[in-house]
Amino acid sequence: MRIFHGPKNTGGMAGILARAQRELGYDTWSVNYNPGNFGYFCDQVFTNPSIIGRMWEWMWFVLAKAPQFDVFHFYFGESLCGPKLLDVPWLKRMGKRVFFYFCGCDIRDSKYAVTTHKHSACANCWPMNCSRNRIKARKIALEYADGIFVSTPDLLEFLPGARLLPQPIDLEHFAALSQNQGDSAPAGQPGVNRPVRVAHAPSNRAIKGTDMIIAAIERLRRRGLKVQLVLVENQSHAEAIAASGSCDLAVDQLLVGTYGQYAVEMMALGKPTLCHIRQDVEPLYPQGCPIIRTTVDDFENVLGEWVTHPEWWPAAGESGRRYVKQVHDMYSVARICLKAYHGNSQ
């Protein structure tokens, strides 16, 4: 079975899953049409600077290499032809198996999110970040896909029959990255006289509730707490992990209602991680999820508590590591996909 992952590499997931499945003995290949700024690993990235060169790269890949694959695992609502998804019916006619993995704005109905939930990332998101082909991608996926995955449980309501596929993380690679954490001695320890550092890495400030986080930390500082926000933005993935790794606590997001890739990575680093988890999606997460629950309304108090109790951090950090190893390890996630490729959804 030859497996294709791509053509978008959101959060590095295509590259990670392809590598994990390869190490499990399968013939896989990951492709990224647009490399972006974060430098996530992928087997093949289209980097030709000229438009004609990129077109040629694409045509060569689609016509010569793509037909050799048996399984196509598409990400973020795009296929070999990009957002138009014109190739999907033809792949099915050729007997290929097609899977979609949706991650957020590629499928979330912002209108529903805003009008249904008191707080939502979509209410703050302007201009609307939703994928232009959201409705088409949903239609094509429901009609043609052999399986649909979503990275967070809040997306299940938009795709009947979809399955939660946790965000994969390469723990070995992560262990190597986390060696470069700089001054990582936790605050509050004897001999360590610095403010408590709180990491937050928004890919989009409006969606993650960054302004609310900044305001809450400022209020904590005015109350006399020694706390400092480390805002990690516009950096490569490796740089972002290094900067976040030197912090004591992490905040993922306050508005979406589920935890994202950054929370997974912070838990893998053993950092107690705060995030808003919507009540209705709680039961959909595996038991024992160690995310520190918080909301827009109580974030300042919850963070204040964790800042003033460094004795809680080691246990929370260890729980996070265990949880990530159990749920998000790339081999576990890769096996879930492989079962689905073989036609076993359970």
Binding site: K111, V114, T115, A123, W126, P127, M128, R132
Partner: protein, 435 residues
């Protein structure tokens, strides 16, 4: 529910934002598609309202900008030729350039006339595409220029449409007779497709019902609420302090756009005939300001006629309340103005400011009908002077005689009253839970 509002305003009218905020207060999401100009951001927040700006094109954007560029290039070329070659040649060169520019404009006009009258213009197609992308539950069209595309969107996407007529648009004075006839027919044809029609006062509502054979539109005034902490019984002194007006003197306030057609020239001239203890403050900006300043100089009124820049909405009422009376001199230059219900009327009411108003139907109904001030014909400086004199006549009690009534009745003319009507409108189309 998600509501898309459409307007061709560049400076967004206060009414639109108030309606939007009211709907947001009731749990809705409001996206406003407005007009934009060069240099303006395409997306922005105004309060809690999401705003997208679309620039208007007559032709497809590339062709339209090509025409604009061509006109500029032609002008510059012929001016340069004229400058280089001499006065005689310049005379012909500049005129040739003007002729070519006019030909380009004519070609542009013919190009879009070839398209069927009912077809959407390029920028309207952009608006339709954006409405489709936002996938709202209701569309709210502000004023006639947005009605065609809104009706189109409403019919294609099968969603309710609310038409909010801020003006009696086909009667606007600057339109030619042909334009008025065309727009009137267009409005008559399009209002039939609206689920709800709103307008700004009962006179325009009645006129629209009579013209178009529709149920009389719901009236929602351009009222405002007082800002938190504002006390209308405590008059600030901002004008006196900033303009060194003596404490014993009185202040008559005009606030708003200084238009050439609002009778402001006669108002300023009238101050010559008004008691020396009465000062006139003109607060705002506009095309007539330079002319008014000239009149002040010619009539030697610099000590008693003062100009002040416009202030933000958040501090407007504090300045308004710093005067002793306000004046609304709108002239009946067209039927739209004749039936007008200007924003400043409601601002004056909330500031408990006695009002001198021209004798127009709605102003008479409110100002005279409620006892808020003096209503009189304001067509000449003499008439202005008499009305102002009557307002400030100490033997009758001066402006203060109207304040109790203003304080008593202000609650009938605030936004809190009007926003209930918005909720009712939307609950009738199923978009909002009724109050």
């Amino acid at each position: 529910m998600r509501i898309v509002m459409v307007t061709d305003d560049v400076v967004i009218d206060r009414r639109i934002l108030q309606e939007a905020e009211t709907l947001i207060d009731r749990g809705n999401e409001v996206i406003l598609i407005a007009s934009g100009e060069k240099g303006m951001p395409q997306f922005e927040w105004i309060g809690r309202v999401k705003v997208e700006r679309i620039r208007r094109y007559i032709l497809p954007p590339r062709i339209d900008s090509f025409c604009a560029k061509a006109m500029n290039d032609v002008r510059r070329f012929f001016v340069r030729v004229g400058q280089d070659i001499g006065r005689v040649i310049r005379f012909f060169a500049v005129r040739t350039g003007r002729v070519l520019v006019k030909l380009i404009l004519l070609a542009r006009g013919l190009a879009w006339r070839i398209v069927r009258k009912n077809a959407l213009l390029p920028f309207e197609r952009v608006i339709l595409d954006r409405i489709r992308w936002y996938n709202p539950d209701a569309i709210h069209a502000h004023d006639l220029p947005c009605l065609k595309v809104s009706v189109c969107a409403s019919r294609r996407l099968h969603m309710p449409l609310i038409y909010d007529a801020h003006e009696l648009y086909p009667e606007i004075d600057t339109l030619s007779r042909v334009q008025k006839r065309t727009l009137s027919r267009m409005e008559k044809r399009l209002v039939r497709h609206c689920d709800q029609i709103i307008t700004v006062n009962p006179f325009i509502a009645e006129e629209m019902a009579k013209r178009y054979g529709v149920v009389e539109p719901t009236v929602i005034y351009n009222a405002i609420d007082r800002p938190e902490g504002f006390d209308p019984t405590v008059a600030p002194n901002r004008f006196r302090e900033s303009m060194s007006i003596p404490a014993g003197d009185s202040i008559l306030l005009y606030q708003g756009w200084m238009s050439k057609t609002r009778g402001l020239q006669d108002l300023v001239r009238a101050m010559k005939m008004v008691d020396d203890s009465v000062h006139l403050v003109m607060m705002g900006y506009g095309e007539a300001r330079a002319e008014l300043e000239q009149i002040v100089r010619e009539e030697n009124l610099g000590e008693r006629v003062h100009f002040k820049e416009a202030v933000g909405q958040d501090e407007l009422l504090y300045w308004t309340a710093s005067a002793d009376a306000g004046i609304i001199p709108y002239q009946p230059i067209d039927l739209n103005n004749y039936y007008s219900s200007p924003n400043k009327l409601f601002e004056f009411i909330q500031a408990a400011l006695p009002i001198v108003a021209n004798d127009l139907p709605f102003l008479r109904k409110v100002v005279a009908g409620e006892g808020f001030g003096v209503v009189a014909e304001l067509q000449s400086p003499d008439q202005y002077a008499r009305a102002i004199g009557e307002m400030f006549d100490a033997s009758q009690g001066g402006p203060g005689r109207f304040r109790p009534r203003l304080l008593e009745r202000a609650g009938e003319y605030n936004w809190a009253n009007e926003e209930k009507k918005i909720s009712t409108i939307y609950s009738q189309i199923g978009s909002v839970e009724p109050e």
